[in-house]
Structure formats: structure tokens, C-alpha cells
Symmetry: C2
Subunit: 408 residues, 2 copies
């Protein structure tokens, strides 16, 4: 039998999805599972956007332009303008989710063996795309004690080699909920210019900022035009994860023309979903305002509940819809699986994403979990009831270990 590839062996299973078989099994046994493991919002997709698909005249479901509908791209220029971003419709390509934007960005800018610096914990799927391309991830650890802020620039400097081609951030951050300040972006600018690096920014959560904090797109930073590549998606802002519509945006013409060759190889992004995507641009701001208010209330609820729990540490997120918490547990993977297999409270349990999967450095995240606050407040409360009870009875509960690590 021929062997699968080494890169295929090396790619880690998604921490967000790898426990799905245990969740399925729990559900089969009649247990209700509250899904905080995955950023799949329960917010309604804008009905007007769904209607646009349902009412579209579709005789032949044809390929689109490889860069996506021109009409959609032209409209997106206006969308970005709202965030102070000035681009042309040729500065972007519609992709099959932000996933494909990340793939195109990495493939277009980095060769096998090249290095990309990524503050960790980071969105685990970056690993998949880098592994596919033979790209080496160099993690720099952001600390829970600092609310997962940008690590010191000195840490970046230490990490840079002749192979370093890019820095990748997620702003606001999945999985930590941290929103980078303009000062942090300017610090990144300095290092990108100094070492001639690409600056990749995954900005799919840009609408979701809290506590009056101001969002700055890296595309608005002057002097970085040739360095910045942004990955974007409608999945979260319009609760349309299943559409698989994203964008790659860059003012660097060589990057876009290179990404275009990868785009042509896969022919076109999904046509039905592009109709939906284009229609989301006519959705009134009130839809987003309502979503943001709802997420903010969930955030307050989640953090308040976590604060009630003994020995749980969780920085209050200022963006996105994730919280990254430290729990008094021995092993996050074991705990998350135990929650599904062994634990039950009022006929239910909660599914979390183990922190380990978001760190590249081995051994980190063992006591951490990511929670997506994508459930309504009633369900979120019940999910927190489960977690609170679980932490009282989990056999691997290790309060001492937590204390120790906080003091270290």
C-alpha cells in the first residue's frame, strides 16, 4: 500500500472539530450538548440575503469570473471605505471562505521552508494551510497575564531569520478576543519595513469590538501598502459560515496577480453564495448593530459567570466572540473529552475547544480552553452551569497547578 504524505501525517486535526465524534456519540445517548467549541453563530442570516438567492434567476449555474462577480467586488470597495480603507475592486479576489484567502496568501507569498511568525495562541487552521505549503510557523507566545496583547517587538526581532517572510495576526483575535491597538499595529509596521516582511491580517471579526474600543484595519496604515495582505469573510458578520465566501485584499499588485493564478486553477468561488454575499452589502446597519449588542451581552454574561468560578482566569475579550480561559484542570484535551463522554448535568454537557490546539509551542495551553459565545443567553447560562459543576467534580482538577503557574 502506498503511504500518505508526511505533510498529511503532520497536519494536526482541528482542535475545534476533532472531538466531534465524541459529541455525536453523547447526543446519540440523549445528552444535550452546548456547542461553545466552534464559532458557528445562532444569529439569523439576513433574510434579505437568503431571499436574494431564492429569487435569483438561475437557468444555468455557471462559473463566475475567477476573482468573483465584478459587481460584488465593486460594491465591496464601498464596504471597506466605511473602515477608512481605500482600495480598488481589482485589489481583491472573492475566495471560498477566508480559508481559501489564507491558502492563497500563504502560497503566493511564501515558499516551502519559508517562515511566518504568528503570535500564539492562534486560529488553529493556520497550521493546516502552512503545513500544506511546507511553510514553517514560528510562534511567539502572547500571555494570558497581559490579556494576550501583542508580545514585545523584541520577541519578534529574536525570531526573525533569513527565512522569515511574513508576520500573521488575527485582529480582533480568534481565539483570544484581543483587539490590537493602532500603536501595536504601528509597532508591527516598523518591524515589517525593517525586515521587508509581509504583514498578513485576518480581519474577519472587525465588526465585533466592545467597550468603545476603536478598530483599526491594517490596510489603513500608511507606508505598508506593499506589505499588507488581509484575509476576510462574511461568515461571522452575517452569520453565513456555510456560504464559504471570503476575500483576499492587498494593494500589492504582484500579490493579487499571483493569487489570481491560484484562483484560476480552482476556476471560481461558489456562485450561489456570491449572490448571497453581494446581497449582504445591502443589509441595513441595524442588523449588525443588533448582532453586536447581542454578542456584547453574551460576553458580559460569560465573563461574569467565569468570574464566579473558583480558580478560573479569563481576560475580558474586547473583540470577536471568543474567550480564552485558564481552568483548574490537568489537561484540556482530556477535560474536553471527559465533558462529552463522562459528564452530565441536567441531561446536558458543554463542548469546548482545548487550548493546546491553538498553541504551536508544545506543552502550552494544557489548562486553557477556547469558548465561542455564539449561543443565546439562556443556553449560554446553562452551558456555564455545566462548566461550573464539571469543574467541581472533574477527576483531573488541579487547583495547585493553577496557583503555581500564576505565581511563576
Amino acid at each position: 500500500m502506498p503511504n500518505v504524505s508526511k505533510r498529511g501525517e503532520n497536519i494536526a486535526a482541528s482542535p475545534i472539530r476533532k472531538l466531534v465524534p465524541f459529541a455525536d456519540e453523547a447526543k446519540r445517548k440523549g445528552k444535550h450538548i452546548y456547542h461553545l467549541n466552534i464559532g458557528q453563530p445562532d444569529i439569523l442570516t439576513p433574510p434579505s440575503a437568503i431571499k436574494a438567492v431564492q429569487e435569483a434567476d438561475m437557468q444555468v449555474l455557471a462559473y463566475s469570473h475567477s476573482a468573483g462577480f465584478e459587481s460584488y467586488r465593486r460594491k465591496l470597495v464601498g464596504y471597506y471605505e466605511k473602515f477608512g480603507v481605500t482600495i480598488d475592486h481589482n485589489d481583491l479576489i472573492i475566495t471560498t471562505g477566508a480559508s481559501e484567502a489564507i491558502l492563497f496568501g500563504m502560497m503566493s507569498c511564501l515558499d516551502s521552508g519559508d517562515e511566518v511568525i504568528v503570535p500564539e495562541p492562534f486560529y488553529a487552521n493556520y497550521n493546516g494551510f502552512s503545513t500544506a505549503g511546507g511553510i514553517v510557523v514560528k510562534p511567539i507566545t502572547a500571555r494570558i497575564e497581559n490579556d494576550f496583547a501583542l508580545p514585545p517587538i523584541a520577541d519578534f526581532e529574536k525570531c526573525i531569520t533569513s527565512k522569515t517572510k511574513a508576520i500573521l495576526i488575527c485582529n480582533p483575535s480568534n481565539p483570544t478576543g484581543y483587539l490590537y491597538s493602532k500603536e501595536e499595529l504601528l509597532a508591527l509596521k516598523e518591524i515589517a519595513l525593517k525586515h521587508n516582511l509581509f504583514l498578513f491580517a485576518d480581519e474577519v471579526y472587525r465588526e465585533f469590538c466592545y467597550d468603545g474600543k476603536e478598530y483599526t484595519s491594517i490596510l489603513t496604515i500608511d507606508g505598508l501598502e506593499d506589505h499588507v495582505v488581509v484575509f476576510d469573510s462574511i461568515s461571522k458578520r452575517f452569520s453565513a459560515c456555510g456560504a464559504r465566501i471570503g476575500m483576499i485584499v492587498s494593494k500589492n499588485k504582484s500579490v493579487i496577480s499571483t493569487a489570481m493564478k491560484f484562483a484560476q486553477a480552482r476556476l471560481s468561488p461558489p456562485t450561489l453564495a456570491q449572490i448571497l454575499g453581494e446581497a449582504t452589502l445591502d443589509v441595513p446597519q441595524s442588523y449588525l448593530d443588533k448582532s453586536i449588542t447581542e454578542y456584547n451581552e453574551r460576553r458580559e454574561l460569560l465573563i461574569a459567570r467565569l468570574q464566579e468560578m473558583d480558580h478560573v482566569v479569563c481576560p475580558k475579550p474586547t473583540g470577536a466572540f471568543y474567550a480564552f480561559a485558564k481552568l483548574p484542570i490537568d489537561n484540556a484535551d482530556r477535560f474536553c473529552r471527559w465533558l462529552l463522554e463522562e459528564f452530565e448535568y441536567n441531561g446536558a454537557s458543554v463542548m469546548l475547544a482545548p487550548g493546546t490546539g491553538f498553541y504551536y509551542s508544545k506543552g502550552l495551553g494544557q489548562q486553557e480552553v477556547r469558548m465561542a459565545y455564539v449561543l443565546n443567553k439562556n443556553d449560554l447560562n446553562k452551558a456555564m452551569d455545566c462548566l461550573q459543576e464539571a469543574l467541581k467534580v472533574y477527576p483531573g482538577r488541579t487547583v495547585d497547578a493553577i496557583k503555581q503557574s500564576l505565581n511563576s
Copy 2:
């Protein structure tokens, strides 16, 4: 400015799409363009499948399972059974077009530097996916004189090195329209077993076979269970290219579980299009019968028209909906661009795909073009009028060169 990647530089622009700007310009000037360059059928997508999307209850357009809807995968088992293929619903993953199936297959089975043998001319986008993965394509030239049949096994033997991991065929073939016989598949079996190679088969055109020729899926060949990986798509059979729904199929559990990790990294295939895809399985056989009859008539028309043209050589295709012809021209790229920029007949011209883009070996295909017979017979006739007239006046017409090459 940081430089784009070498792999990005090396990836060739799609021969099917790279002339699009010239076609767009011609259209702006009022010229009608008959598109024979791309396999975008004009056949109606099954209205019942479109209706399924339009009537679906979609409140939240959510991610699906990374392998695609389980209901759809279970139904697909029955579809494959019709072709004598026995699989389980866990032997396949729904992908974003066959494009993603090819990407997953290559990434799961080959490492950077590994070699895949591909009979040329071949579907040009294989290049894009192999280049992305640092995979080396080793072409074996199929000859127009032999109707582009499988090259002699001795040619494969000569090509195999310690780096060879796979052979990739397209059956029936895009771009040549050649349908491999069972004997040819058995010859491939022998060499795959002898050298422990994967056998990749792109079978997206399996429904389109003519002249009573029998189609054999490589999945039905005994003893190859661990070697075969099939790439599939609904794009052509259901005229749903824009859906972007495909499948990767293999009985090799390691291949599917590895592909699944890549599938999880990109979260899920498009949800709207999966609804359409699942509904296509309820489309009556009469839909396909009608399409096949129509394509067969177009094929007869196209070949008859080409035979009338002086010094044009074109094997009669027995599958898919492409013909690969040798024309009395100096340079296919120049000719195809000239057709768009300089030529006009009755206010129209024809767009063809230059043959060069389908060969990996430099210098081949200079006098060849691929034609997709995806237009109705009236338009196809007019497109052939254009070609016939163009060949009379094209400045780079080289009858002598054709004669010479046929004699060589």
C-alpha cells in the same frame, strides 16, 4: 517590497482563462465571441435542483460537517453503485469542486519533491495544484496520431524514479475526449502495483461516452483498493459548474482520513451548493440521456465541420465534451489571441484554448487547440464558420509546417 513566492511565479496562468481580458475587450467593441475555450455548458441546470435550494428552510446558513452532509454522502453511495462501484459513505468527502478534491488528493499523498506521472496533454489546472504543493509533474506524451490513447507502459517504466508516488489520468479525458478502455486501466493497475503507486483518476465526465463505448471506473478494478483515489464533480453532468461541488473518493482509509484533516482546516464545503448537489441525485435519468444525446450531436457536427477544413487533424472524441485539434498555424497562443483581437466574421469570432497550456513538455501543442462543444448546434456552426474563415486569412498560417510534422 517583499517578493512573491517562487511557486507563485512558477504557476502558469490558466490556458482556459488567460485570454479572458482580450475576449472582454473584443466584447466591449461589440464583437460576439463564441466561447469554446471553457467547459461551461449551456445546458440548463436541473430546475428541480435549483428549486431545492430556493425552497430550503435556511434561517442560519451554517457550516456543514467537514466531509459534507451525511445525507448527501449516503445518497452518493447509490449513485456510484450504478457504475459498479461499491463504496461506503465514509469513503468519500464532499469538496469544493473537483478542484479541491485534486488539491486534497495531491496534498494527502505526495510531499514536496515527489513526482506524479501524467499523460499529456492534460487538464492544465493540475499544474496549479502540483505547483502549490511543490509536487513535480512528469509528463508522458500521448500522440494525436493514436487518438491520444494511453502511451505505452514502457514510457511509464522509463519515467519512474524513487520519487514517483502517483499516476494521474483523466477518464474520459479533458482535454482530448479520449475514453480509456478497461485494458488500458488494467495496464495501469499492473504498473501501480509493481511500483506501489497511487492511481489518481479524474472521472468528472463519466456520463459522457459515445459510440457505444463502455465506461470503466478505476474504482471497479479489483486489487487496486489501496491505490485508487478518484476526483469527481457535479459541475459537468448537471451543468452546475458554479455550484463548486465535488468529491474525493478512495477505499484507502489512510488517504481519506488524511484528506479529512485538510477538509477540517477549510471547515466545510459550501452549504447552499450541497443542497443543490443532494437534489441532483433525484434528477431523472432522462435529464442525463437528453444531455448526452445533445452533446453527441454537437460532437458529430463539430467533427464534420473540422473535417471539411483543410489541414485540420482532429481525432473523434469518444468521451467528455472536448476535441483536441491540430491546426495549420504557427503558434496556438498567437492564433487564439489574434482571433479575439484582429479577426471578425459576421460580427463575431471564436475563443479557443491554446494547446500549449495542456502540455507540460515545452514546445508541444504549438499547433493544437482545445475546443469545448458546450454551445448549441446553431452557435457551434457559427463558431466553426469563424474558425474556417480565420484559418484562410490568419497571417501565421503554416500549411507546410503541418505537413512536415505529420510526416515526422
